[in-house]
Subunit: 446 residues, 2 copies
């Protein structure tokens, strides 16, 4: 925090910048939402877990009870989306029916059942001079989540923020705007009915793209911003935001099949990592195969991938192995293939001479999300885990396990690929910070 | 990390930007230093503690053995500084004599004696499906430290970075450039003699201000940047850096004397917080006094502060209390006084009607560094600790205790006032990140 002070009516607004002329109304509206969130967050910072859990259960119940209201708004979004020519898969991502709402409500109840990170004593001791130290886990304060077109994120983000003692300001994009507006209303009503400030959950959707711009620059009012969406959204947020950002998940993930791999395991892991779901950040985009097992493994890999409809790119060795395989076509791979996160049924494959080469390829091309090794060799597994500079390393397991729920962390705010503050799947603890509380008896320094 | 890929010769250079024409030579030189640091860091990431400690002890010994060489360079900096009219206190900050070098070497040996954070298993479990999870503490990679004119920071930063498995790129400013250049040479020679890459420690000082600009934008090659210096330096770094920054310490710290305070403790804590050292970030800048004890306390506080040469600013109640006190002058306080981190023998004092008002004042004006409360009342102490949104809260203790060494954390990289990643004094663990290592037996997702 710099020593600049803004208009005294805004607490902690020391770094809010002056906007171009004409945007003042939108800017003030957005900052007002953030200020109200900040005030609300102070009430929640000291709330007991029981209070927060009761509110979450009320939110879950309200989502189910108000399903017709939500579905009606959702229908309007779907109608508009179809009219604007949204493809079927994107319309499907938008759709909320009674079943999906029930699942969302269930996820909220799951969050209520999680332990409360707030109040954890991360560490502490009594010093030789008698000072009693505690490093306490406390809420971040105000969390902003900027996401695209997935109404379940609205509730996910709200429930995780509330459980960890934070207020949340949401920006959900225009495709799901009617759905999100009603969902936020339902949540706010449930909070108020529980005796908590409705302003704990709010949205800036009505202010459109201009609103987001001011949200990104509300440093001092918003404590952390989590973008969830495609690489374009994330890059723009990282570039423009003065609010601290937790950069989530572009995943150019690799599976390395080692000389000592169990080839049946390798096939299962590679197939699952690529095809179990193709548009997620933890989907594998490149398979590296040790030359010693390439002859035995590539035919099975390429045939199985082709059978799943995966478009293949490979180096010369891979293309040579593909010759004579029915129904298998492998296009020549270029550097762009090694670099690309396809997010589709598409895969790049290379043969590597040894583990060193595999590690070098990964070091050069990965986005530091998740890399998997298939091997029976302990030293190889240990070296891979120690030297691959990614958020997660899988040993004889699918890259698809980099996921908060899969790793037992509870629901997930996103998967961080950065190194500071959070790395890998982000859960409740990542929405908190810490505070030192030092108690003395008049202690002073000599 | 975005999916952009830069020239393939640079590992992880996906986000390095194109510079204005003509700066290419400096930019390449700086990026080369960062690339070399990154390569060196990979060798250190898997080094045992024994290896790192031996290198640190070699560094300590070399600093002592090479003292004449360092002092000769230091003499040149002091001569130049005096010729350029540097004030005596700044010249003193630059000075390195045999005694100070011995103390610096001792601090390096202390770091060698600290536990190694690398390899800590932060958490882990075996999931119901049999997946074995570990969240490992691993080095950040390449740490950059940008600081001003304090040669001991050169060695501090290097020793902490090395101990935590990182390479470090330094920028120490022009005032101490000859000293720092020689110190870095001595450290590099000691590392090489210990069998580690000399490029683990390097400096971009020779490239001046232009060099720093490229260092700040070496996102992808440098993992974290720590600025240490005045508010101006920190603000500029935060504003310009695309490398993740850990914002360190402007401290507009408060001491709140509660209605239930032991007034002797209050006086001692207030005096120590303000005067024990005046130019540090954990120095108190404002004292708030509950109205119920103002009559009894203010005369003693104002008299004692004046006797220490502290220039006083106060609200009307404080000025009224000052009337009739010999040798005590209190200037009228404005909002600027509540906002200002004086970093001098200067203090703002206000009377507050109650705890709520004290908390509101702190919430509005603090830079979220350190706030102290003096009270005998348990509920007041608990509420203060729970509601003051700062990195550290002192209860009946001086604000000067917010310090890595004082809190038993070992040597200190800086004191963070941000909420993400590190909060309060930053030690070894804050120069690390984590990695999930998940081991299965061919596990795939359904």
């Amino acid at each position: 925090m710099t020593a600049t002070v803004d208009a005294p009516t805004s607490a902690r607004a020391g770094e809010v910048e002056e906007p171009p002329a004409g945007q003042d109304a939108v800017r003030e509206a957005v900052l007002d939402v953030c200020r109200a969130a900040r005030v609300a967050s102070k009430a929640l910072a000291t709330a007991t877990r029981a209070t927060k859990d009761a509110a979450l259960l009320a939110v879950a119940d309200a989502l189910v009870a108000q399903a017709p209201r939500v579905e009606a708004a959702n229908a309007r979004d779907l109608e508009r989306g179809a009219a604007e020519g949204l493809p079927a898969n994107l319309l499907d991502r938008l759709r909320l029916d009674a079943g999906r709402l029930a699942a969302i409500a269930g996820a909220v109840r799951d969050v209520a059942a999680l332990p409360d990170p707030v109040g954890e004593v991360v560490r502490g001791q009594t010093l030789p001079n008698g000072l009693r130290l505690r490093q306490l886990r406390v809420p971040m304060g105000v969390v902003a989540v900027v996401y695209e077109a997935r109404p379940n994120v609205t509730v996910d983000a709200a429930s995780l923020a509330l459980k960890s003692g934070n207020a949340v300001v949401l920006r959900g994009g225009s495709a799901a705007r009617e759905t999100n507006a009603v969902v936020v209303e339902v949540v706010r009503e449930a909070l108020a009915a529980s005796g908590l400030p409705a302003d704990l959950v709010s949205t800036v959707d009505e202010h459109g793209r201009e609103g987001v711009r001011h949200l990104l620059r509300a440093r001092g009012l918003v404590d952390v911003l989590v973008p969830r969406g495609g690489a374009g959204l994330i890059a723009e947020v990282v570039r423009s935001s003065t609010v601290p950002v937790i950069e989530t998940g572009t995943g150019n993930c690799h599976v390395y099949v080692d000389a000592a791999a169990d080839l049946d395991v390798a096939l299962a892991v590679a197939l699952n990592s690529k095809t179990q779901r193709t548009s997620t950040c933890n989907t594998a985009e490149t398979v590296l195969v040790h030359a010693a097992v390439a002859g035995a493994f590539l035919p099975a890999l390429l045939t199985a991938m082709s059978a799943e409809g995966v478009r293949l790119h490979g180096d010369d060795a891979v293309r040579a192995a593909a010759e004579g395989l029915d129904g298998v076509e492998v296009e020549p791979a270029t550097d762009e293939d090694w670099a690309t996160e396809y997010l589709a049924l598409e895969l790049a494959v290379a043969v590597v001479p040894d583990l060193d080469a595999a590690l070098a390829h990964i070091d050069r091309w990965s986005t530091q999300h998740t890399e998997a090794v298939v091997t029976r060799d302990l030293a190889v597994a240990e070296r891979f885990a120690a030297e691959v500079d990614s958020a997660a390393v899988m040993v004889n397991a699918s890259t698809r396990f980099t996921d908060g729920a899969q790793l037992g962390l509870g629901a997930e705010v996103g998967i961080s690929t950065q190194k500071l503050h959070a790395r890998g799947p982000m859960g409740l603890a990542e929405l908190t910070t810490t505070r030192w509380v030092v108690t003395g008896d008049g202690h002073v320094r000599a």
